[in-house]
Amino acid sequence: MSRNDHDPFPEEAPADPHPHARPDRHPGEAAFSVLMVLASLVLLWEAYGISGFEALSAPGTVPMATTAVMAVCAAIVMLRTFRLPRAEGEGFWKVVLPRPVIVVALLLVGYALLLRPLGFLPTSLLFLVIAVKYLSRRGWGFTLAVSAGSLLAIYLVFRIVFTVLMPPGIVPEGEMIQFFRDLIPGRAG
């Protein structure tokens, strides 16, 4: 197995199991730390708006304290991050957001958008087929068989065993289940 020196999520066990700070920063890390500082400040302002410095037991005291701690910590991290040298040979699109991550993230957003109108079964099948086809680069036969098979398994386990309700959408799911129930004698209704 080849070890990628610029892998932000190393898989293999590290040579030294104790966690360590990195000597350099990944692309985008400085920007992320700035973002964390800004977000903390916005939250701190919002926390101040809850009850201000009204009383130590006021509903806004703990939020203000925690967001203040967040802001201070984020600021320290930001200063430390800016002092680190940028890691050499790391491209943002390769290390931080490689194409599979972007594609799958977009697929997830699409899934969330389609779930209600289209229903669980068609949306999930669509999602699995596209994701598996894209990630595995295998033939359509493999993709369709794996997607449909695993979706069926998930559906049986979670819909029937765990009785989870998912949006039916365009599939008359309730009627289907009722139809199969009726087939089993003695368990009608």
Binding site: M1, P8, F9, E11, E12, A13, P14, P17, H18, P19, H20, A21, R22, G28, E29, F32, S40, L43, E46, I50, A55, S57, A58, P59, G60, T61, V62, P63, T66, T67, V69, M70, C73, A74, I76, V77, R80, P98, P100, V101, V104, A105, V109, Y111, A112, L115, F120, S124, F127, L128, V132, L135, S136, S150, I154, F158, F162, V164, L165, M166
Partner: protein, 505 residues
């Protein structure tokens, strides 16, 4: 007598026993498959079991927990990929053993030692928890507040690259937990005037996002890594081997229980400390450490399974989670209307003994599944990630949706998944966030109770801490964690342990 009956519930009810077995079986494989983690599995599972009765739900989750902590060792040994953080130390000597063709021996030892460690952990839990819970009745609100703080800080200081990032993550968690209506005064907090935010953020959505989606996105970096085959031969270890390592395994189990019982520290840290301990005390390992020493397997594996029992002590008696998984277990108990804490032990003692019984059952199943089914195992681990990752994501979405039948929760989950992905990438730990979310209410309520009881007088609050031995001890621990990150600590350590450090190799 009631305690014994409750303890035996799992063994007398076939359905519950079966659920523990299924859970343990699933846990072993979830822990073993790279890309699936116990935290992920339990957080997704909460959402599916929340309509169940509490016993079956807990039985399943305990099985997964126990099996998962053990299962992580499999891939650590076979592929040098720790299936779970608690198996990082296992890879140090397990993988070299597998490369010598001793994978079977390594797995056998690991299984038996995990069983042994797990048993010690459960034993200590059964003995210590009732005592701790008696003691906990005398805790003041400020003690709970300090305990919650300590737990978050410990996770933050030990799990990531730096304490500062850990503290940030913990504070973020507390803030997330505060979103919505304040339960005491009905003031809106962090709602940005959005009606949608009034009910707060579903902590299950946060959990699944951070441990399911972000992990799956991170795994996409390895989507092309081919699975590796390993041949496994003899697996049941000889009795002599086990007896030879009994003294060490007792010591490392003790380390495991103690570390597991500290709020905020779990199996991963226990395993590392036990590994270091074994390296120190083993004068003549059969092989040098790092090249396939059996002692290097025994230590972390006894410790991380012993830590399971240990982690249940603060969880059941104080409501303070030992690590991310127990934090999620606490969430599960909340959902089922139980309130972990000293009162749980008084109001629902049968619940506690049921948990102990389920743990014992899970431990036996772990031994059983660990020593059998190797051929099936090698098959499952070879499952390509191109299929695995879309499935995890699908389950995450279903899980997040199923709790409240709400598409908003799915968006929250995706948002936190993305945030978690970047946090992972840049070395911000996620464990403290979850601990913070779970402990937010407890922290906030107890702070307000404590400060109201001294009529908002900060001086008296502080005086209260100084004059109560327990509060003082907790407060000192909190301060020490901070000091440990400053240069002052290194200086003090050099002065105090200067000579000891020189003796060490």
């Amino acid at each position: 007598m009631d305690a014994i009956a409750a303890f035996l519930t799992v063994f007398t009810d076939l359905e519950l026993l079966l659920l523990v077995a299924v859970g343990t079986f699933a846990g072993v494989y979830i822990g073993a498959i790279p890309g699936l983690s116990v935290t992920m599995a339990v957080s997704i599972l909460i959402s599916f079991t929340f309509s169940w009765d509490v016993y079956p739900a807990i039985a399943l989750m305990i099985g997964i927990f126990m099996g998962g902590v053990y299962g992580g060792s499999r891939t650590a040994i076979l592929l040098n990929i720790p299936g779970a953080p608690s198996a990082i130390a296992t890879a140090m000597d397990g993988y070299p053993m597998a490369r010598r063709g001793e994978a079977g021996t390594a797995i056998g030892i690991t299984t038996v030692m995990s069983f042994f460690g797990g048993f010690i952990g459960i034993l200590v839990l059964a003995v210590a928890a009732p005592l701790v819970s008696d003691f906990a009745l005398s805790f003041q609100p400020r003690d709970y507040m300090l305990l919650a703080l300590l737990g978050i800080l410990l996770v933050g200081s030990l799990s990531g690259e730096s304490l500062v990032k850990g503290i940030f993550a913990g504070a973020l968690g507390i803030a997330i937990g505060a979103v919505g209506m304040d339960p005491l005064t009905f003031t809106e907090r962090f709602t940005f005037d959005q009606p949608l935010l009034r009910q707060g953020v579903s902590f299950i959505a946060v959990m699944i996002g951070m441990f399911g989606v972000s992990e799956a996105l991170a795994q996409l970096h390895h989507v092309d890594t081919p699975a590796i085959r390993q041949k496994i031969t003899r697996i049941v270890p000889s009795f002599g081997t086990i007896r030879r390592h009994l003294p060490l395994s007792l010591q490392t189990s003790t380390i495991g229980v103690v570390i597991g019982a500290l709020p905020g520290t779990g199996g991963d840290i226990a395993a590392l400390l036990a590994y270091d301990h074994a390296r120190r005390v083993t004068k003549k390992p059969e092989r040098p450490f790092g090249q396939g020493a059996i002692e290097g397997l025994v230590a972390p594996e006894t410790a991380n399974n012993a830590a399971v029992g240990g982690a249940f002590i603060p969880m059941m008696t104080l409501g303070i989670p030992g690590d991310a998984v127990t934090a999620i277990m606490i969430g599960a108990l909340f959902i089922h209307g139980l309130n972990p804490g000293p009162m749980l032990m008084i109001d629902r003692p049968e619940m506690f003994w049921f948990v102990v019984g389920a743990l014992v059952a899970a431990n036996f199943f772990m031994l059983l599944f660990g020593l059998t089914g190797i051929r099936l195992f090698t098959r499952i681990v070879e499952m390509p990630r191109a299929v695995l990752i879309p499935l995890i994501l699908l389950l995450s979405i279903v899980g997040a949706y199923a709790v409240n039948n709400s598409i908003t929760d799915v968006y929250w989950m995706l948002g936190f998944g993305l945030l978690g992905y970047f946090m992972r990438l840049y070395g911000w730990p996620l464990g403290p966030v979850i601990l913070g979310v779970i402990l937010s209410r407890l922290f906030d309520d107890n702070w307000r109770r404590a400060i109201i009881s001294v009529r908002e007088d900060f001086g008296r609050f502080f005086w209260g801490i100084l004059t109560s031995p327990l509060s003082l001890a907790l407060f000192t621990a909190v301060v020490l964690i901070f000091l440990s990150q400053t240069p002052l600590w290194g200086w003090a350590k050099a002065r105090l342990f200067g000579r000891g450090a020189e003796d060490a190799p």
